[in-house]
């Protein structure tokens, strides 16, 4: 009954005792973690915490090209090492495991990659204190069951993982499943909490079913419209629906019950609004070469509702980063990948608003021969960049327009 992780896709049902035994019998550790098996990712993070060593999370769908650019390597088997502090892994039971994780040393860090403002994704590191800053530990959380609806190697997924892990909750993998399986898993496992992108929720709609076990729905990463909220209230009649503002660099920062955000008094001195843009103090951020000054420009533009106490709404973003269903895509990185395809003279990547994903990536391409087709470009891009970064509409043009926000016309 006391499960740690269920994954219906892989037919996995791991209970806490199994996890404890598995960790106790683990002799080796590899800091580079790249797996599409959620259990392997979670186990790797836990072992890193127990032995106090860095863990580097890599998306399971990174191409060799992306891996080499990000880490300098495409293969990581050579980094496997024997676990020295064997004592740290002699766990008695679930509560011993959780207690030892809470005592994680200061040297531990977790590294992940986020869309940079220029070129390739950038590395961001967090220590135990910064990654668990917003974990809510409480007796009332002990029976929560989390529907896990994020990529486990992304910031949002890591935060849900720590929230569940430190409260000793069960996790049910929902990310990447068909809606019919998601509904079945929610029902069978009596899931109580889900945190996901609006796209994830939109893909579950419309539905005739109701799921009373869900008491909390959290959403972030892109705008959530009123219609989706009201449809979700019908499917999850007992759920409180919350929006969060989060970023890979800082994690979850603020929450709201509608589209108006307010800031906790203790965070007030770490937030600034300059020229309507949200600035965050670097003490809230993970360390990264993106952050060189005291204040980090988020690129998010606000509309202030009240000054004191500060209440605001997010209006738009200043940067060129495109939000595709909660995934951040840097158009410059995509352009660089397309330009490396032989026979392509020029390219412009832009977004078009989309009712499913919020935004969709499109591009205009100038080619120097007619042999190059949409599918031949896509096939080559699949070897270079992750699927969500690949343009879904490729238009061949004689010359490029001057704006990124072009509108697709009928031929």
């Amino acid at each position: 009954m006391d499960f740690f992780l269920k994954d219906s896709e892989l037919d996995l049902n791991i209970n806490w005792d199994f996890l404890v035994n598995d960790i106790n019998s683990t002799l080796v550790y590899n800091p580079y973690c790249k797996s599409d098996n959620y259990y392997q990712v979670f186990k790797c993070i836990i072992i890193s915490l127990l032995i106090g060593k860095e863990v580097i999370l890599l998306d399971s769908d990174f191409s060799d090209n992306e891996l080499i650019n990000l880490t300098g390597f495409a293969e990581f088997d050579g980094f496997t090492q024997l676990i020295e502090k064997k004592n740290a892994l002699l766990l008695a039971d679930k509560s011993d495991l959780i207690q030892k994780i809470k005592n994680t040393c200061d040297e531990w860090k977790i590294t992940l990659f986020t869309s940079g403002t220029t070129g390739m994704p950038k590395k961001v590191c967090h220590n135990y204190k910064s990654i668990t800053r917003f974990v809510k530990l409480d007796e009332i959380n002990k029976d929560n069951i989390w529907g896990f609806a994020y990529n486990p190697t992304h910031m949002a997924g890591i935060q849900v993982f720590f929230q569940a892990l430190l409260n000793g909750n069960g996790i049910v993998r929902l990310f990447g499943l068909m809606p019919i399986s998601i509904f079945k898993d929610i029902d069978e496992n009596r899931i109580t909490h889900i945190s996901a992108t609006p796209t994830f929720y939109r893909m579950m709609l419309p539905s005739e079913d109701k799921f009373p076990s869900i008491i909390r729905i959290t959403s972030g990463g892109e705008k959530f419209n009123e219609k989706t909220i009201s449809q979700l209230s019908e499917i999850f009649p007992n759920a409180r629906i919350t929006n969060v503002y989060a970023s890979t660099e800082a994690g979850t920062l603020f929450a709201s019950e509608n589209d108006v955000f307010s800031i906790k008094p203790e965070l007030m001195h770490l937030i600034q609004v300059v020229n309507e843009e949200l600035l965050i103090h670097n003490s809230l951020m993970g360390s990264s070469d993106l952050i060189t000054q005291d204040w980090y420009n988020t690129g998010d533009v606000l509309e202030i509702i009240t000054e004191n106490p500060l209440k605001f709404r997010f209006v738009t973003r200043k940067s060129d980063i495109i939000n595709v269903g909660g995934y951040k895509v840097n158009p410059l990185e995509v352009e660089e990948a397309i330009l490396s395809v032989h026979g392509i003279k020029d390219v412009r990547v832009y977004s078009k608003s989309n009712s499913v994903l919020g935004n969709i990536i499109c591009c205009d391409v100038v080619r120097d021969n007619n042999q190059i087709s949409e599918s031949s470009i896509r096939t080559l891009l699949q070897l270079k960049i992750q699927e969500y970064k690949i343009p879904r509409m490729i238009r061949f043009v004689n010359e490029l327009s001057t704006t990124r926000t072009g509108k697709i016309k009928r031929d």
Binding site: L205, P206, N354, S355, R392, M393, I408, R410
Partner: protein, 75 residues
């Protein structure tokens, strides 16, 4: 219209190196029968919009080929 929609759906399938369909039935489910994920559905809306000037998912996700025909006929 059916031939054009089949062509659009096959373009989306081909772009993800999935097998093409030979025909469409109104009861075919976009997600379960055709196997579209959110990226595919998003691409489908853009391609249909480029052809017919209508956003089929404006009022929520549609489930079947029949529902798409209905939206296009209503236009």
């Amino acid at each position: 219209m059916e031939t054009k929609l089949l062509e659009i759906i096959n373009t989306v399938l081909e772009n993800r190196t999935n097998e093409k369909l030979t025909s469409l039935r109104p009861d075919m489910n976009l997600r379960y029968d055709i196997g579209f994920d959110s990226l595919d559905l998003a691409e489908l809306t853009v391609r249909i919009e480029a052809e017919y000037d209508i956003d089929i998912f404006e009022e929520g996700i549609v489930n079947t080929i029949g529902e798409i025909f209905e939206k296009l006929n209503r236009k």
